[in-house]
Symmetry: D2
Subunit: 347 residues, 4 copies
């Protein structure tokens, strides 16, 4: 079970290293007859791509998806959708300095230990570049279930957080700023903070909140494949994610049952929604919402000790063009993975 496949009914297998010729994927199980909006797919990729604003990595890649199969005269045919995203900007020389060294809190060391070989040009397979393929599949999933409304946004960067509930936010403002934070005053603080972090040659973590609306009652399988367990696994499979909570989450652990129980309305909806739209692992028709914690990017532009393959510790200066904060570009990835789970359960 080599780990590069996601989903059962709507299945995605991805391939590709950050500095190979191309990355890509195959989607198996897409329903037939869907007229794809290719601009919408590319737009999702553009939300994830490098170089899109002053607060993300300045690498230049157009991240253009190229479909090879499964589509005929603009419509899906029900056969596997194969696609590639060429790697335009390989610049391997950026990485020659890390050929024999393991950077702290990267996957270099464990890949070398596990496989005995490693594509040392960039992160190889462990690079977040792989997530571009997920965004393609997620964009198609959105078109399969257009009735589902999904909005992810940045709710924290370092210590700076939105202090409103999601109901008090205007989701149409998410894309209005480079941080993808719908509270504009907070967004500005976050943006300035990220710029300062970049100047310091440092990085910082953050939190993304995701809200999924209009999910029908009944999605999710009891016991092991609860809907929130699938969502949690999907989020934890994204690079740099350290935690997942849904509904009341960790703060629910502090509450009493008499406070936490979501009393019914007569139509089966609930007055509160500490459950986060999922009860017993099955969607109850209320909004599904969850929070995803991202650690700071491990590549920093400061001197750090690294380990080499002979067991020596030496100082090394970070090079290249990296994100000072990963969450603005991770927003479309969170949405994509959530949609893969929802559509896999819908089909």
């Amino acid at each position: 079970m080599a780990g590069n496949t996601f989903g059962n009914n709507f299945k995605l297998m991805t391939f590709g290293e950050s500095h190979g010729e191309a990355i890509g994927g195959v989607i198996d199980g897409c329903p037939s007859g869907i007229a794809l909006d290719f601009d919408a797919i590319q737009k999702e990729l553009d939300r994830r791509k490098p170089g899109q604003s002053a607060i993300v990595t300045q690498r230049k890649e157009s991240d253009t998806v190229h479909f090879l199969s499964g589509i005929f005269e603009g419509k899906t045919t029900g056969t596997p959708i194969g696609f590639i995203i060429p790697n335009e900007n390989q610049k391997s020389d950026d990485y020659s300095h890390i050929k024999d060294t393991y950077r702290p809190s990267h996957a270099d060391y464990v890949y070398e230990q596990k496989y005995g070989i490693r594509d040392y040009r960039g992160g190889g397979r462990s690079s977040a570049r792989e997530t571009a393929s997920r965004v393609v599949a997620g964009a198609i999933a959105k078109q399969i279930a257009p009735e589902i409304k999904i909005h992810a946004f940045v709710s924290s960067v370092g210590d700076i957080s939105i202090d409103k509930t999601y109901q008090d936010l205007d989701f149409s403002l998410i894309e209005s700023n480079p941080v993808r934070c719908p509270d504009l005053a907070v967004a500005e603080k976050m943006e300035n903070y990220i710029k300062q972090i970049r100047k310091d040659g440092d990085t910082v973590g953050g939190v993304i909140t995701c809200v999924i609306q209009n999910v029908p009652v009944g999605l999710g399988e009891p016991v092991f494949d609860r809907l929130h367990a699938d969502l949690g696994k999907a989020m934890l499979s994204i690079n740099a994610v350290k935690g997942f909570e849904y509904g009341s989450g960790f703060s629910g652990a502090k509450m009493k049952g008499s406070e936490h129980n979501d009393l019914f309305n007569a139509d089966g909806t609930t007055r509160t929604n500490f459950s986060g739209g999922i009860q017993g692992g099955i969607s109850n028709g209320m909004d599904i919402y969850f929070r995803v914690a991202f650690k700071p990017v491990a590549t920093i532009m400061q001197k750090q000790e690294v380990l080499d393959d002979k067991g020596n510790l030496t100082e090394q200066q970070g090079k290249g063009r990296h994100d000072p904060c990963v969450v603005p570009r991770a927003v479309p990835i969170v949405e994509a993975m959530a949609m893969l789970v929802i559509v896999d359960n819908l089909l």
Copy 2:
């Protein structure tokens, strides 16, 4: 994909409702030739069983496991291990009052909507009783990999928390108190608090921390089946769980890269362990540790509004014998599910 199977190489399928004749499971993929310690298996079940102390549900069930196959002359044979745990204390009359009503924050409503039928005697399949089968499988997993050391414990109940790191705790004290908290001063506070909650007819949530030591380098598959994603899904599949974080977790989202990066020692170990023993989804040989948030039990001994199947809201008094706080009994479940993941990846 009906959701009652967990794992790929070491696979568990469970069955059974809380008030049927028996629950049970089948383990497929257990290596052959393992001389099972049946007392150790039963001891794990005893840690989960009702009635074990004054702060848990007072239902009486011996939770005795009975093996039907896969074992010959005390050793595993490599064939499937089928087992049952009879339901001794069905007392269905306790539940007649909920036949036509949906209790808030239970699975009653969504099961009825999804399946059109529901075993209304207790939680049916959504009852935490199902987790006894997981504890059996987890106890066998422990015996497959005795070199792995795993300790879960209660780190929070409501607002009461241990404020030490796990390195400062003595794991041998976990079983010394009914809360399963190794900080004895905190344990006493928790115990008193749970007793008060019970008197109030209320319930309260909590957090379990789990530490896994001696895991070899290299467990976990890149991309979708990262070790922490599998652990997260395993934990989120346990009843009442609302959140999962590993290593630095949500607090890591507030940190800078220069603080968070785990610098190497010359032997490949790291000086700090914000990574939580997993980098790039693959174990790096350091301690794996994570936290799991549990919401308060939904059944409370107070009057609450319930919805009936005709759309009427009526008041109902909770009945029966339920846990005021689920975390003390959930400790062996967390360990069991973690071991299922570890052994599934080891094999």
Copy 3:
């Protein structure tokens, strides 16, 4: 992937050895709300059970299935259906003579080599007794899709064969004779031949033909999971099966395209049906039919050389009560496995 699970949407996991306490299984994915006819299930088991006629093994076992879960007030609930079939007639002493020896063309030797341990009482897990659990699941599958008409029958025993096409047979005669052959003249010859084989202490192989009618157009997935590939795997997973062919089968390999092509009628049906109801791996609505070859039972009541675990060859006389010809009792197993495939694809 330990091999004891069948199906994806309608999933069966079986467990149990021939001489353990019980065999059984768990069905995951059965739709909810089906009012089960328990007599019909037991009747299918009775078609497979030992001792049913003079030409099968004279072991006495009632093969009574006992359901543990997934059924409430006579209806399926959508949760896993766990069941056991107790082993009544264990008579382990029958098998003490084979504790240290490997019988020719049995699984003794390969199990010992693969697992290093073996339940030597009877065939253990490799005994055809395991197929009783499949018959239970298949009987439930028949009730899920009552519109599907399925008839398996014995078409050959040794050199004696039906020489009519299935269209010329009266399926209602299948159960009228102990061989389960609907051509009564041929059935009588087969019965006499099997009796002679039994007197000789020998065994003989045979062929079962299966016809499935009323299958909707569109079942089966392209490429790897073609409907006939799934049927073939299902049949080849039955003990003693050596071959599978559908539609024109091996004789189709001798034909020309101009003879073999099934010309259409205007309604999409075809005038001939060499395709066997499946084109490109997908059902086309015509009758699905296939043939399954069974080798002779390996246990014979004659002296044979066996190998012991020290590498010695010694003569041994077969003991116990075995089938002289396996096909009469295999008819319900073929139907059961076919229905598992059909229902798995229907759901």
Copy 4:
């Protein structure tokens, strides 16, 4: 479960239509550190490609595989191997005449019924062109397990058959003739017959025999995933296959146990091998051999009645360049699928 993935540990997902831009696949689970022989891979593709001799289709395609990932400095890295094979010779106009018609014994009708849409240019996804991707994966599998010796060859074309056992054949002669039949006298007859069939505008079926040597004892999982069941499914997933038998196969159904039992030698090998190298679903170290029946290609160069999408039957003349007999080109496909099964079980 959309059916375009094969294998569990060594997993292949394929994509692509015959007249799209490219076909291809992704291999997940290939061990790391294998120095690939790319010429050997291409050579396998050349054995399958069109235009290789006078008795196969005269379409011209170079079938050149292009690897996109999973390989670094000539060695596998353990990450997914993505590859494409561009479609050079699309000539879609060849197919405009079948846009609205369903050809007899093709997949046109069932695809249209199942998906409501169909890539009518050639066979689309149901074209045997898809098998080129399997040949790539099988060629890599051969390099993972170079100790396994596998030889497939044509043993029958129409009524012309080899009448020797495989032990009496010289496998080195298989590639010496365009039919891939190691009995040269029979090969010549077959070749002439195929040429005559081509002149007649007709097609003919055939049988491929495959022998796998040097397989270790112990491959295959009991019960549902028996080694021969996996091999059978693999073969039945190849276009045009109608039957599979291993070891004694259908002729074993005519034998007595006293003839069919494979008596042991003292070293655990057997004197005869009616078992076909597999007992109880597990390899016993003897040669594995099996036979695969292929129907005649459905596209013939004669007038035939076709059905159109309005329910009219009209005569149509077959066009294009098709194989008069599929088995010579199917030999490398049979080997590839067999190696996928063997390596999947080895890993």
